[in-house]
């Protein structure tokens, strides 16, 4: 997918002024956030915290042992009859999928929801090769017919209002207009049914890969994931290398927090453990199962202080909790991963120079870390990324100079007071309620108070002088 993250500020402005996005994103994120808080504090908040700590530890342990676990996972998947491929780049992912598709004479591909395939822009490549690709997750399907991109990890069309979805389905699919969400879903299901039955190949992502059993795990709510991975002759699971965990027990730990954090569910409607192709005597399942393990920049993160970002289980809780995401929606972030986790992994995966506004797109409020089911210290990493931006000279010169002056004024007590007096004079006697230059953003949205006539330093000095006078000057305070 094309990276447009450098455009964050104007894109955010457009989203903020779009009442539909505001209504849809505010409602969607708030609902999920409230449900998440309830689920993670049931039966008690302490219980939820304990689950978070266990999940965090399971993912940290998996990351520490990642090279070994990947080898173990590969060996056990192969033993299960799964063909394992490794892809270093998005081009390699696409090339492998095309090769597999050609080998099996594939014309129609049914896809279950997968962010990594968004990352590598797989659909475009398959369509260029003459294949028909259909997204079968309801949200992804709407995204596909609307020719747009998902704006949220779990809820791809969180940015759309119901009337917008209705109008799109009427226009693109000839649906009889209805405002009943159930009817709209039924219509989409009926439309999708024959694709499931006729598809030659199913493509899914993977929430986890279990090293000890060689299993692909998928948690879904719509049933389309099961159809995509069982009905077509061929199934390819495309999975980031960071999704490997060690044991079934770790998986159990993580599936406690994933649905709770994402949708507030104790458990998703469907939980799949895929252990290989159809065996002799089995009535269903694909003839061939492939797993493509995707790097695409992840090992570069693994070798840095930002490795913890790879612990993300893509639950979307940080997006729902983030007041910035709630205001901008996901598209403003300009790539696949939006919100707090996106503000970290996007610059790390696509290059800082291609996503330099994203680490700044946070008030550092810390809500993301608070809700993260694996306790990723997102605010800490945002601070570190901002430091990296300064070190790399990728900050605006006006701020570089401003901060230099600020430091000079604040490391000397004398200059601090002179600077304060100048700022007071400037604010109280020169500036009106529209500040110049880079400070103008403040007065676009809010008033700025006058400075006090006297600083605390001055008041304290006067107070001590008065005390000394009262004490006959005997006490120097």
């Amino acid at each position: 997918m094309k990276v447009e993250s450098q455009n964050f500020i104007p894109a955010a402005q457009i989203a903020i002024r779009n009442p539909n996005i505001q209504e849809a994103v505010t409602t969607g994120t708030r609902n999920s956030y409230v449900k998440r808080n309830l689920a993670m504090s049931t039966p008690t908040l302490e219980h939820g915290e304990a689950m978070r700590q266990q999940a965090a530890e399971a993912k940290r342990r998996a990351l520490r042992n990642l090279p070994d676990l990947l080898e173990k996972a590969e060996a056990n998947m192969k033993a299960n009859g799964i063909t394992v491929e490794w892809a270093q780049s998005s081009q390699e992912v696409c090339r492998l999928v095309v090769e597999i598709a050609k080998k099996h004479n594939v014309h129609l591909v049914a896809k279950s929801k997968s962010m990594v395939t968004e990352e590598v822009a797989l659909n475009d490549v398959l369509e260029a090769e003459g294949m028909e690709v259909i997204e079968t997750d309801l949200g992804e399907f709407i995204v596909q017919i609307g020719k747009t991109h998902p704006s949220h990890l779990l809820a791809p069309i969180i940015h759309m209002t119901k009337p917008e979805i209705r109008d799109l389905m009427v226009k693109e699919l000839g649906m009889t207009p209805t405002d009943d969400a159930g009817e709209m879903t039924k219509f989409a299901q009926a439309h999708l049914r024959h694709y499931f039955l006729e598809a030659d190949m199913g493509i899914s992502g993977g929430n986890f890969i279990l090293a000890e059993t060689g299993s692909i795990c998928l948690v879904t709510n719509e049933g389309n994931g099961r159809m995509c991975t069982t009905l077509p002759r061929v199934h390819i699971a495309i999975v980031g290398i960071e999704k490997v965990v060690e044991t079934v027990k770790d998986y159990a730990t993580l599936t406690q927090v994933l649905p709770r954090s994402g949708t507030g569910q104790v458990m998703t409607v469907y939980t799949h453990m895929i252990n290989g192709p159809r065996q002799p005597g089995e009535s269903d399942g694909p003839e061939h199962v492939y797993v493509i393990l995707v790097d695409n920049g992840r090992t570069n993160i693994y070798d840095t202080d930002y490795a913890e970002a790879l612990a993300c289980i893509r639950c979307g809780a940080c997006q729902n909790a983030c007041p910035v995401y709630r205001s901008t929606g996901g598209h403003a972030y300009g790539w696949v991963y939006a919100g707090p986790i996106g503000a970290i992994v996007t610059p790390l995966l696509v290059g800082m120079e291609n996503a330099s506004p994203l680490p700044q797109a946070s008030s550092l409020c810390g809500a993301c870390k608070q809700v993260c089911p694996v306790n990723i210290d997102i605010p800490r990493m945002l601070l570190d990324l901002r430091h990296d931006l300064v070190e790399r000279g990728e900050t605006s010169k006006i701020w570089d100079i401003g901060i230099k002056f600020w430091a000079i004024g604040n490391k000397s007590p004398r200059l601090f007071q002179i600077g304060g007096a100048m700022a007071r004079f400037g604010r109280n006697h020169v500036l009106k309620n529209n500040f110049p230059g880079p400070l103008g953003g403040w007065t676009d949205y809010r008033d700025f108070p006058n400075f006090a006539p006297k600083s605390f330093h001055q008041l304290w000095k006067e107070r001590q002088a008065a005390k000394n006078t009262n004490n006959g000057g005997a006490n120097n305070g």
């Binding site: 709630r326 809500a367 870390k369 901002r386 676009d444 949205y445 809010r446």
Partner: protein, 259 residues
């Protein structure tokens, strides 16, 4: 090394006030409120005149070297202090959480930074958790309904929130009401508010709407930065509601004889 909540007890020690640069220039009366409350409690207060800023604006923007220059001035200014109290959760969090990072590899200043971290307290946690004072025996001149806005750094990095509620809850004539989304950021975020003014403004608008919908006439915060953001938004929208610093309200309750 992260902030250790088990700081030595500050009881019986002289307090050095770190007033914060913002209160120094814009709200010095809030600094005086802190002094008045502490002196009312019989605590000796000094104000090291060499203090400037904690360094957070540069730190949060990634300018660590500039931030450190200012943080060193902080260490110098408070070198003789036994206990540092500051009426800001955000500035306290800068010292308690980020000085350990800033001075981690600095042989010259690391030890002093650790000492400073071990003696620094946010104002409300100093009273309640540090001294064990929960009731100032204060009384407001008028019955007033308040609600709390939980400032992010204080709440999420220092675990603040309950101390201020306890103190205000024990003030006569003070009623505490709910503020919807009291735990959601007001959108200030330091330079974020000018660098990403549209986003910050959108966050502020939601906060203003929630404040206007609250039964409270006054919103309480422990940070003058959030206060400036929220009052700026309220005033721009012509709201009659105001955000005020917890120290100012408590100090008003002590004027006269209290209850």
């Amino acid at each position: 090394m992260a902030h250790d909540s088990k700081r030595p007890s500050p009881k019986g020690k002289k307090v050095s006030l770190f007033v914060t640069c913002m209160i120094d220039m814009m709200y010095p009366e809030t600094g005086m409120s802190v002094v008045n409350i502490l002196e009312h409690l019989g605590i000796e207060v000094d104000f090291p005149m060499a203090q400037t800023c904690c360094g957070q604006p540069a730190y949060n923007s990634g300018y660590r070297s500039e931030s450190k220059q200012v943080a060193i001035q902080f260490l110098k200014a408070f070198k003789d202090s036994e206990v540092i109290v500051t009426p800001s959760g955000s500035c306290a969090a800068m010292v308690l959480h980020e000085y350990p990072v800033l001075f981690e590899d600095d042989p010259q200043w690391k030890a002093e930074a650790e000492r400073i971290v071990s003696i620094t307290w946010e104002f409300t946690e100093f009273l309640v958790d540090g001294l064990g004072i929960t009731d100032l025996k204060a009384r407001l001149p008028q019955p007033t309904t308040f609600a709390f806005h939980d400032s992010c750094h204080g709440m999420r990095l220092l675990g603040l929130g309950q101390a201020a509620r306890t103190l205000l809850g024990n003030v006569e004539n003070a009623t505490i009401a709910e503020l919807n989304e009291h735990e959601v950021c007001c959108g200030f975020g330091g330079l974020f508010s000018v660098k990403m003014a549209d986003v910050s403004g959108a966050m502020l608008q939601k906060k203003v709407n929630n404040i206007n919908a609250s039964a409270a006439s006054i919103i309480i915060t422990g940070d003058s930065s959030c206060l400036t953001q929220m009052n700026g938004g309220l005033s721009r929208k012509g709201s009659s509601k105001k955000v005020r610093h917890i120290a100012d309200i408590l100090a008003e309750g002590l004027v006269g004889e209290g209850k």
